[in-house]
């Protein structure tokens, strides 16, 4: 098979319809021909099949009996199931279905006779109570627990009341013109970069890119000053080896031979490192309320750390699938 591979060849390759000799020839051609390799990688259903592979290896999803037990509040695997549904949309939806079913059991169909009897009983008891001397209400018992700062309580209340969290202004400042990162160079329109237009929590973030065949060098700038440069990388990611300044705004680019992507000044990949005050606040929240994923998610969102916000709110929704307000918050942040 010396000629380039056609769509039918790819189909036969994937569906195991090639003879052994043709298979070997096709495999050698794919290894040697960048164009055919690129076309193979763009197969429409390839990502679905890749996702299925990952799913098959990610560990077992809890089965019906386990999820039913979780909904019923039975012990056993409750903690591990809660963690699982924090990141598994499918299982989280199953739990929501079972919670609906449980609620339907709590609202049995009223029978008229029972309803009438209940009303009569209520009237009778109320009349009795109105004629009894009132007892003194017992003094409230004060329980000492970790008290959440009022500012955090307000942040949660406000977000839940609005059922959305708007992106902070810092993200607008960091955002490049629409499609600038992809439109400037038509040959690189498919390249995706991360982090872009976001706040990162780590002072040594990982830089990721996808869509480039060639080895690239990562350069990180603060203004015009070069802060760090990576060795040539093919893997599509590089973690900077020196800590960046909290609160600092940086831009980064990929250098491929003589070319730069994205091309400044019109197109820049900008991000900010979380400032010290916000980092301290998040650290305190995690220390004092490690299980309050809603709080941490909201604080991350307010600070512009989108990835943290999505991750924490997803975990909260996973643990509290009936919490519609939290689900709305998650959707609003995912939509940024």
């Amino acid at each position: 098979m010396d000629t380039h591979l056609s769509s039918e060849d790819f189909e036969r390759f994937g569906r195991r319809k090639l003879s052994p000799a043709d298979l070997l020839a096709a495999g050698r051609h794919l290894a040697a021909c960048a164009d055919c390799a690129r076309r193979a990688g763009e197969s429409v259903d390839l990502e679905r099949r890749g996702a299925a592979i990952l799913r098959s290896l990610e560990g077992d999803h809890p089965d019906f009996d386990a999820l039913s037990g979780y909904v019923d509040g039975r012990a056993g695997e409750r903690e591990s199931i809660a963690l699982h549904i924090g990141h598994c949309d499918e299982c989280r939806e199953r739990v929501a279905t079972l919670l609906d079913a449980r609620r339907s059991l709590r609202a049995p169909l009223w029978r008229p006779a029972l309803a009438a009897a209940a009303i009569l009983a209520t009237v009778f008891v109320t009349a009795l109570l109105l004629h009894r001397p009132r007892a003194e209400a017992p003094a409230a018992i004060e329980h000492r627990t970790t008290v959440m700062p009022a500012a955090w309580v307000s942040a949660i209340d406000e977000a839940r009341a609005q059922r959305q969290i708007d992106p902070p202004s810092v993200l607008t400042e960091l955002r490049p013109p629409a499609d600038a990162l992809r439109g400037g160079d038509a040959t690189k329109s498919h390249v995706v970069l991360q982090p872009v237009a976001t706040v990162v929590e780590s002072r040594t973030p990982a830089f990721r890119w996808h869509g480039l065949e060639d080895a690239a060098t990562v350069s990180v700038y603060r203004g015009a000053e070069l802060i760090a440069r990576s060795p040539q990388r093919r893997e599509g990611s590089w973690t900077i080896d020196r800590p960046l300044t909290p609160g600092g705004t940086y831009q980064w680019q990929l250098e491929i031979g003589d070319h730069v992507f994205p091309a400044p000044p019109a197109e820049v990949a900008r991000f900010r490192v979380l400032d010290a005050a916000a980092a301290t606040q998040l650290g305190e929240a995690r220390r004092l309320f490690p299980a309050d994923h809603q709080l941490i998610g909201i604080l991350c969102a307010r600070a512009g750390v989108r990835d943290c916000a999505v991750r924490e709110l997803r975990t909260h929704v996973g643990l509290h699938p009936e919490d519609a307000a939290a689900r709305d918050l998650l959707r609003s942040v995912e939509a940024w």
């Binding site: 197969s43 259903d45 592979i53 290896l57 999803h61 059991l105 990162v200 996808h210």
Partner: protein, 329 residues
């Protein structure tokens, strides 16, 4: 049910397994339990067989059930708090759940309805669901253990039966009208019609990565698969072979082709990972993915050892992939 301390006693079928000393005895005992389990798994799958359940799907489901069973036996072997009171019923339930999970992705609305019905049947004092002859049967609690004899409501449905907001009352009305228990799958079909639940077309497989930013999601997926391939290449040889030869892509095909198409591995690299020549891999390619018996024959081990090898490989990979994903910015 007899209690052994705080938990029900284990089924007498597990006696040899619980008494084993040393791996040799244990492997033999597990193989014996698998010989009991296999016909039950096959029967449930055969009764579930439809145009939507392909042969390779059934094999995939069966392999998953065996793996879950092996894990459960490990838990019982290690902890006195764990037990299987009725082994055959447990295997049937595992298989029902696995079949349900398989169809859930293709027919999500119907799967959701079935989950709802199962929950209500198991929690309303008037209702029950039980297993007879590898079939799940539903009905009034007083009928527990009876066989479903093609019962259906004799006349048209009344308002109570159509009231999806009160499923327990609706089911009780349906059963009274039918006069006897109904097979669970038939009950699902009946209530789907009464409550207007339908899947217009089989749903597409969900992406693992988030759908809110498709290019970013594709990037993350590819990078995770690339890391996965690298981790596979450093697994112990037999774990690697047990995993790769069995790997499925969710479309009935072999997962190893996906690594080739993504450009992470050549055919030669895959052959090397399997300790095959490229020619040997090419001969075997059209048979992939293989079932556990065939893999065992190739590797010179028992089927149960193949399951163990793949289980170990999956646990190792799952941990490493999770560690990789935690490092994402």
């Amino acid at each position: 049910m007899e209690e052994c301390g705080l938990v029900p006693c284990n089924d007498a079928l597990l006696a040899r397994f619980l008494d084993t000393r040393g791996d040799g005895d244990r492997d033999g005992a597990i193989e014996e339990l698998f010989r009991i389990a296999d016909p039950i798994i096959a029967t449930v799958l055969a009764r579930s067989r439809s145009a939507s359940l392909r042969t390779d799907d059934a094999e995939d489901i069966a392999a998953g059930v065996r793996l879950r069973l092996l894990r459960r036996l490990d838990e019982i072997g290690q902890s006195e708090g764990e037990s299987i009171a009725r082994f055959r019923e447990y295997v049937a339930t595992l298989t029902f759940n696995a079949v349900h999970d398989h169809f859930r992705r293709r027919f999500p609305e119907r799967a959701r309805l079935k989950d709802r019905l199962r929950y209500v049947l198991g929690h309303d004092s008037r209702l029950a669901v039980w297993t007879v002859d590898a079939r799940q049967i539903a009905g009034l609690r007083a009928w527990n253990g009876m066989v479903a004899a093609g019962n259906t409501p004799a006349r048209g449905a009344n308002a109570l039966m159509r009231d999806a907001r009160h499923p327990a009352d609706a089911l009780a009305a349906i059963f009274r009208a039918a006069g006897g228990p109904i097979a669970l799958d038939e009950l699902v079909a009946l209530t789907a019609e009464l409550w207007h639940v339908s899947d217009v077309a089989p749903a597409q497989e969900r992406e693992v990565a988030s759908a809110e930013d498709p290019p970013l999601a594709r990037m993350e997926l590819r990078q995770t698969l690339q890391v996965l391939w690298k981790q596979i290449t450093i697994l112990p040889a037999r774990q690697r072979a047990a995993l790769l030869l069995h790997l499925r892509d969710g479309e009935g095909g072999s997962g190893v082709a996906v690594f080739v198409f993504f450009g992470f591995a050549t055919l030669e690299a895959i052959a090397a990972a399997l300790d095959f020549t490229p020619e040997r891999l090419a001969e075997l390619w059209n048979q992939l993915p293989l079932d556990d018996l065939a893999i065992g024959t190739l590797l010179g081990v028992t089927r149960q050892q193949v399951i163990n090898l793949r289980k170990a490989a999956r646990e190792r990979l799952a941990g490493r992939i999770q560690a990789f994903e935690k490092k994402k910015p």
